[in-house]
Symmetry: C2
Subunit: 466 residues, 2 copies
Amino acid sequence: MKNKQQNILIIGAGLCGSLLALRLGQRGYNVSVYEMRPDLRKVDISAGRSINLAFSDRGNKAMKLVGLEAQVKELCIPMNGRMIHDAHGNTFQSNYSGRSHEYINSISRGDLNALLLDEAEKHENVTIYFNKKCKSVNFEKTTALFKDYHDEDEFVEDADVIIATDGAGSVMRKSYYLAKKFLFSFSQEYLSHGYKELTILPKVNGDYKIYKNALHIWPRGSFMLIALPNLDGSFTVTLFLSYNEGKYNFNNLTTEERVLKFFQNEFPDALAVMPNLLEDFFTNPTAPLGTIKCSPWHYKGNTLLMGDAAHAIVPFYGQGMNASFEDVVEFDAVLEKHKGDWETTFYEYEKNRKKDTDAIADLAIDNFHEMKDHVAHPIFQEKRKIEMALEKEFPKEYISKYSLVTFNEAIGYREAMLRGRAQDKAILNMLAGGVISPNDDMKIVLEKVKKETEAILEDDRIAGLR
Amino acid sequence: MKNKQQNILIIGAGLCGSLLALRLGQRGYNVSVYEMRPDLRKVDISAGRSINLAFSDRGNKAMKLVGLEAQVKELCIPMNGRMIHDAHGNTFQSNYSGRSHEYINSISRGDLNALLLDEAEKHENVTIYFNKKCKSVNFEKTTALFKDYHDEDEFVEDADVIIATDGAGSVMRKSYYLAKKFLFSFSQEYLSHGYKELTILPKVNGDYKIYKNALHIWPRGSFMLIALPNLDGSFTVTLFLSYNEGKYNFNNLTTEERVLKFFQNEFPDALAVMPNLLEDFFTNPTAPLGTIKCSPWHYKGNTLLMGDAAHAIVPFYGQGMNASFEDVVEFDAVLEKHKGDWETTFYEYEKNRKKDTDAIADLAIDNFHEMKDHVAHPIFQEKRKIEMALEKEFPKEYISKYSLVTFNEAIGYREAMLRGRAQDKAILNMLAGGVISPNDDMKIVLEKVKKETEAILEDDRIAGLR
């Protein structure tokens, strides 16, 4: 292929950037990656970023593309469903799917990133530079200004193409915004809630203190605690709480007494396995939860935003990493089609992809409300019971919204959202109206749900004059 | 009242700022207004801004508040409906309401602004400074930095409270964004279309060349032309067209031949009354269409964004000015309640108001599609026929979405949006399903529409678990 020797500069060696470097390395491009942080394989830099993540089918599609499926599987802890903890310490499990082969996984961000860096560096046409902070990008000239954190020197790199995978705080996206050279649509939307990471340490013998193979949730209506397992027997726990509303909030949890009282009242069973709560609480930062959307992602055939730099989302669907990995798969397919024509590649990639990343951003906010609140409602629990039964009895005929989003990587996020929301609406309304119940014959329920879902979609189409 | 002598600094003497200055002057505050432009009563500065605007009931509510209803009426040209021009030059009128006392008005931005400035300056506690450009706001210290356009001097003003009504490009909003002192949610979303202003001049005898009392629309699916009357017998015409998509777009309309051909093909009847088309087209700028949302609007009790500075919208519902005027009415009511406590006033004002300005932003985008496209669809026209009949026969029982938004100033934009959209969906679906028709007994149609609207709202409530 004629473009094998083109120079591609990638800004950011996080999960998306290191996967992209690996894939473009496999394709034979000359790839240079500049990362502001030290090499995470040599220095512990986990502080302030989420330690473990949910890994599922869309992410796995990318691992298959680069030939790492088996190696990544080694890092995974399957989570078959949500383990819901009520205020009295009672628990019940709600599976993610009625098909037993469908589950999500807890994975260490650091371990996965290290694997991708190792694999990328095996290609002699891929070079990764650490401690080099991007200061700005000149997208007209396709150059980037960096500062070396060791010697404080600033230097400019140029390339045939620059792809920024520098995360939610992307410097290249800021350059687009500030330059005002073209109409740049941009949004940053913060939730009223922030988050703080805590831990449940392993037992002295290394065992897990609570059930290993689930995503634990303590839903409390306007706030919640969750926990995901790690390979070392610990759990990473995250508290999602308003900054300034409600009786307890991050702004007023300022003393050990108040934090203890809050956990005693709301999460007594979690507190019992978190003797280290107060130290964690006052050591770890409180971080905001934001959604970022923008357009265009590219400037001509010179520069492109990918991953969180283009579309950062809140973590509640467990799809942030999976969406960024899927970006690489989608980009790779368009690149294959138009290789050599970067402008067409970038344009078509965004045109295909943005509708889906917009959808997962909105779905992730929906799931914030579902996780902290709806999962504790009887009508929602009945809906999930029906969905589990339908997925079990009719595994090829019924796919819930959660399954469409998480386990059906051949369907885009936007289609998953439209179909999934219509199904949810159909089931909830028929439950509320007494038209169906979890005790009915599921064959009949399936027909009713299908018919009502189609009617909802059709009504929406007509109302939109489409 | 104890706070009569407080100093209020207003940035921007446009429509919202001059109304606010007048109202706060009436309340006895010491008001200083700084405007970057020259005094529009002395210098013609219309270029690049829309010349005439739609004025309706929400705007009039504010004129009543400040006692200017009768004077503003003098400036108004009633528009009873849309005059739709098809591609063959045929026209038909579609009224805005079935109630004959409900219509919108075309008004000159300059004349209305001049009236508000004159009235504000009648208060000796109100001073307006022109040619003073705000460069930045220090919201911690409640000071603003200005540059004088005459002598190039920079100076700092402080005040007890700063209110920025400096429009879509607000400098204070930029100070919020850049300072990163608090979580600031912000979005700017551009449409794919831009706009350009053109004119239909009066006949030599001063008469109107096309029907005076309508908002003229030439809907063409993916683009459109509109025209609003002026008091001098002319019309201000606006072309809304994509920058880069479709056969004809702003980027490729670069020669007189192409512009003429475009108008000959698409707008022959308009072209016939626009001998000045080519001069206008190549003299006047092409401007973008954007929506701006943000939050919070205020910083503590120090500073507040109002009008377009807080929520700029696209022009398609004719509500931009009306929404900004309603801001002043809503703000005035909260001020009356909490006067002296600025932080509570600002907080409560935003809490009440933002849901409504978010809604009108979304409604305005809906109407972009309605005006350029849907108005030409048979099913949409049947819906409007039914709505006109319902409003005429049952003026107290049926209120269309357009009427809820435009003529029902006691109902907030958000409630108008939710009820209006549900009604539209009900009527369109029942028309498509053959359940109702414009020839039916309207009493029966009314009952069906009411019942179906309630069912839609209830289904949405259940699906949202509300």
